[in-house]
Amino acid sequence: MTEQERIQKQRTERTREESDDVSVVAKKGEQLKGELDDLLDEIDSVLEENAEEFVRNYVQKGGQ
């Protein structure tokens, strides 16, 4: 088996395993969404308050 075939086979097997159990995939999706929600809450708490001014004032001249 060539290297390319071996990789292709690995990928195919991985895809098959992943699609085996749809409920697991759905559960993982919910978990990821929950994680993103938590992350966005955290971003809300640290993001600069006046975004407009913060972005406008950031000017960098003279770089390579």
């Binding site: 993103l36 992350l39 971003i43 640290v46 993001l47 913060f54 406008r56 950031y58 770089g63």
Partner: protein, 495 residues
Amino acid sequence: MAIAKILGIETEYGVAGGPDHDPTTASSIIVNAYAQQGRSRINWDFNDESPGTDARGIVGGGALAPMIETHLANTVLTNGARLYVDHAHPEYSAPECATPAEAALFDQAGEEVMRRALQVANETLPAELAITLYKNNSDGKGNSYGTHENYLVEREVEFSAVVRAMVPHFVSRQVVVGAGKVGWETEFASGADPQFQLSARAEFFEEVVGLETTLKRPIINTRDEPHCDAERFRRLHVICGDANMSPVATLVKLGSTALLLAALEDDGANQFPAPPLRPVRAIRDYSFDPGLSTVHEDENGRRRSAWDYQDELWTLAERYVRRRGGEVVAPASQVEEILRHWREMLDGVRDDPDSVADRVDWAAKRRIVEGYRERYRLEPRDARLRAIDLQYHDLRRDKSLAARVGLRALHGEEEIRRAVAHPPTSTRAYFRGECVSRYPDAIVSANWDSLVFDVGQGPLQRIPMMDPTRGTEALVGALLADNPTARALVDALNG
């Protein structure tokens, strides 16, 4: 034949705040704050600097030699790095390293150096003048600053072969190692009007090959200033990369490039995919399309997406490693790690970018930008989304978004702290860093390829370090241990 891929990254940090909001003043405060902690007061020596020398030989008009600021804060650190003010930015030039993982470590050490400098500087400034630093590449208003990689390349390889072989990688690697960007900021992007780009830096490139770094930036920079024996070595100065917050992305950026350069040295340029006919258009167009479907045609009429190029280049690198080993780049286990991450990141961005948001910066950034936009139903140009982009790169731990998105670590905190103070053991940076640490009062100045000592009597003594692979702990560790004073060291070296 391939030679050791000594490598390193130099980063210009974005800087805001400080007295009068003057970036040069703020940058000087940052560099001096770090130097005045007693870590180093040693000057940089400009004797061997020649950034105007062109790898193509004599070049007719059209490109001006870059200007060098020689009177700003400038110092060398005990870890072998250079910390200085370049133009209007504080810059950390990491010490020369022997492997991509080591270079990624010393890149992270640079973040820590800047963080400490920031802390010291802000303790002396009133709150309203507090400085902030960003490890990014543009201000969102058309001003860009660089994250430059350097690779040691065998002098015998024709420069035209470097261009032929490496252009495909430099235009396409942003698929896995791009830092991402909300919106666009140059006239070159106005037509495509992308809401999100793969690369922060890509839209600033205007030439394929050239000497410039600040105007008409080229994809392949021809600065021929090896900082070592120019008969044997080239230093390939890569200016088209993004500043990565993801340590694994830094590893893959360096590792993929180093492996391809080794393959070029060993087996020539013919094995490489042909470059796109219009590389400047390609690097931009690929950046404008996070959907990864944009294709460009090569000289044979073959059309490839950036992903297609990366797939071919990964296969080329993998075959090279199977056939010849990758020892010139790193030990086998690290080379395997580089190939594995590169492959997984490549497959991940095609199948589901969120699945590799722990390693691919643009995917991590896009995930939070899109999530935030959907949550508050924002317009694509909303300032809050651009603030997220900027704050992703904020060095302050209490503000950094990159620190919150779950990026995979490569090195532990302890290892990074050690790399702030101590040089890599594997290159001449060891000799430089250890000398700065052991004999600080006797070193008059330092640069990449020499140290100048004043041992108290007789003329100043310049110690050349023309081979980056020497001066390692293995070669000079005992010598340094046996000579507690600079005078004894210099005498031993002149033996």
